[in-house]
Amino acid sequence: MSYEVKIHDRIARVELLSRQGDQLLVAVDGKEYALDFVQLNKGSYSILYRNKSYNVELIPVNGVRKYHVNTFKNTYEVEIIDAEAKYLASRQKQQETGGAEVITAPIPGKVVKVMVAEGERVEAGQTLLILSAMKMESEFKSAAPAVVKQLKVSEGQSVEAREEMVVLGYEAKERRNDGTMERWN
């Protein structure tokens, strides 16, 4: 039994070689690990490896393939890559090489101002629109010279998290936002 697992930019091949009760033998990219592996609670595990004690908490992110992972000292984002995920990844790549970027709302909010029109050429750093969310106004800027391919929102409109707002056409891929917000001292 083996899968690919993605962590940061690394994709590792994991293989379960053997299992007897709590004793596991697993290979990660060919390196073998003999582990004492016990479940504490739903999604929470204690692992002893060469007497070292590791605690791993898995918090699912949308389903069973993606996890936010806490260890004692670190946090990670991990994804199990199975057939479906591979298909989606290849499709995503196709889009990207097409030279388009979709600017999406990171959190729910309201579009305060749209500062460009469809078809308009924009400079690097030029503000495309302003989104108001969580007591704060954020400017969404173009990371490089580009063309506004599509405007999917209008002023005053409410948007959901991850809702697409603007489609840009350019090569370099970078998105920045810049916001100020009043917090208490």
């Binding site: 994991v14 299992r19 791993v56």
Partner: protein, 501 residues
């Protein structure tokens, strides 16, 4: 004497205030907007009143609704916390007109200190040093230019009604004056409905050090020493400590006396904070007074051994202060880290969402003030501060070691947060040495945002765990498929033994 307290706030500060009321045996009333029906302050208070829709302007800032809730619940006192109506002189005034005790200063003190220019004048009159600059509002560009000519560049242009960094512009070159002035005034107009600005000398390498004061209605006033608040991002404090690593005992005494004099100058009653800007030669200047409880008040509570909310309540009850300046001392060292639901990797964008898991640090020297619980959905309408870690040590070294330990143990899942960013701050060489100014975050930005290196075993074990969990869930979904694997341990070890021969 106060019999029931309405807490006109939300989040960790509302919970914290209710705690002290509970210890005093005072029943409490929480108020909540639509978004906050399940918020911890509602669950924790004895009573709860709905005060309107989610936007603060329609609920937590709605004076009528809050006064109505006090009437309905029979609360005879209101604690405003920080933010919201805490520094609104109209609200303080309204409470006293309604015969409700406002746990805070008079509207006179709030308005005097709330307007920066009036505050400057009052302080100057009281002999409190202020940053060189204008004592009147600047309305024309010519005036601005002539003032800048007098005090010399660099200068800071500030909105008179401002706060939280809005309506502020730094001017370093003469050519920038006009655009900066225009920008500051337009921002001030939008944010505060008032475009009055003033100009101050810009202090390079500044420290932000504030003094906690308490003053009663009987003419007694004391200070409870300082808090070093120079770890800021865009004028928002992130980590505070006390004592300040740069003050000398002598300078501490002077600044404390100045803080008490500043409070007396407005006949202050209650808890308040005098903020100073301090340069590298320890010259200090009055910056502003916060006429309310401060977010970072717990570090003072820890080293001075005082419950500031209880002191506020006693003062509001008209009792004389029992604290004597000569008996107060700073005991050990305390550090506060503010935990925000925000994404440091994405320009600290607020990150609302559902908290799926929390591990809170415990043990010797650790205090946590928070307002979230597992399953709680952090609403997107309010300040993203979700918890404060307050750590004490017998000296700065121990406080730092303990803060590191506690931050490592602190975990929040489900919402993005700045816990890792805080860890990097307390590990940064400048912070460890106590050698930092308000430019600290900006100057160390890159290092503070860098991902930590990880030993590869640890990463592999994370990979294995996720993989095993996935297998377990798949097996549950379609049992049988994987059972073949289960009992081949013996076979495998036999194979390995053979291979080793």
């Amino acid at each position: 004497m106060i019999k029931k307290v309405l807490v006109a706030n939300r989040g960790e500060i509302a919970v914290r205030i209710i705690r002290s009321c509970r210890e005093l045996g005072l029943p409490t009333v929480a108020v909540y907007s639509d978004a906050d029906r399940k918020a911890m302050h509602v669950l924790y208070a004895d009573e709860a009143c709905h005060i309107g829709p989610s936007p603060s302007i329609e609920s937590y800032l709605n004076i009528e609704n809050i006064i109505g809730a006090a009437r309905k619940s029979g609360a005879d006192a209101i604690h405003p916390g920080y933010g919201f109506l805490s520094e609104n002189p109209v609200f303080s005034e309204r409470c006293s007109r309604e015969g409700i005790i406002f746990i805070g200063p008079s509207s006179h003190a709030i308005s005097t200190m709330g307007d920066k220019i009036t505050a400057r004048k009052t302080m100057t009159a009281a002999g409190v040093p202020v940053v060189p600059g204008t004592d009147e509002c600047i309305t024309s560009e010519e005036e601005a230019l002539s003032v800048i000519d007098q005090i010399g560049l660099p200068v800071m242009i500030k909105a008179s009604a401002g706060g939280g960094g809005k309506g502020m512009r730094l001017v370093q070159k003469a050519t920038e004056v006009k655009s900066a002035l225009r920008a500051a005034r337009s921002e001030a107009k939008t944010a505060f409905g008032n475009d009055a600005v003033f100009i101050e000398k810009y202090i390079e390498s500044p420290h932000h050090i504030e003094f906690q004061i308490l003053a009663d209605g009987h003419g007694n006033a004391v200070h409870l020493f300082e808090r070093e608040c120079s770890v800021q991002r865009r004028h928002q404090k992130i980590v505070e400590e006390t004592p300040s690593p740069i003050l000398t005992p002598e300078r501490r005494r002077q600044m404390g006396d100045t803080a008490v004099a500043a409070a007396r100058a407005v006949n202050y009653q209650g808890a308040g904070t005098i903020e100073f800007i301090v340069d590298s030669q320890l010259n200090y200047y009055f910056l502003e007074m916060n006429t309310r409880l401060q977010v970072e008040h717990p570090i003072t509570e820890r080293v001075v051994g005082v419950d500031l909310v209880k002191e506020q309540i006693h003062i509001a009850n008209g009792l004389p202060l029992t604290l004597k300046q000569e008996l107060l001392e700073q005991n050990g060292h305390a550090i506060e880290c503010r935990v925000y639901a925000e994404d440091p990797a994405n320009n600290f964008m607020p990150a609302p969402g559902r908290v799926t898991h929390i591990d809170i640090p415990y043990g010797v020297g650790v205090r946590v003030d928070g307002s979230i619980y597992e399953g709680f959905e952090i609403p997107l309408f309010y300040d993203p501060l979700i918890a404060k870690l307050i750590v004490w040590g017998k000296d700065r070294k121990e406080a730092l070691e303990r803060t590191r330990r506690a931050l490592q143990e602190f975990k929040i899942a489900g919402v993005k947060n700045n816990l890792k960013f805080l860890e990097r701050i307390v590990n940064a060489p400048g912070f460890v040495l106590g050698d930092y100014t308000t430019h600290f975050i900006e100057e160390n930005k890159e290092a503070l945002l860098k991902d930590d290196p990880c030993d590869s075993d640890c990463e592999d074990i994370v990979i294995i765990t996720a993989f095993m969990e996935y297998i377990r869930l798949m097996e549950k979904a379609s049992p049988g498929e994987m059972t073949a694997l289960k009992n081949n341990w013996k076979n495998y070890s036999r194979i390995r033994s053979v291979l080793k021969l």
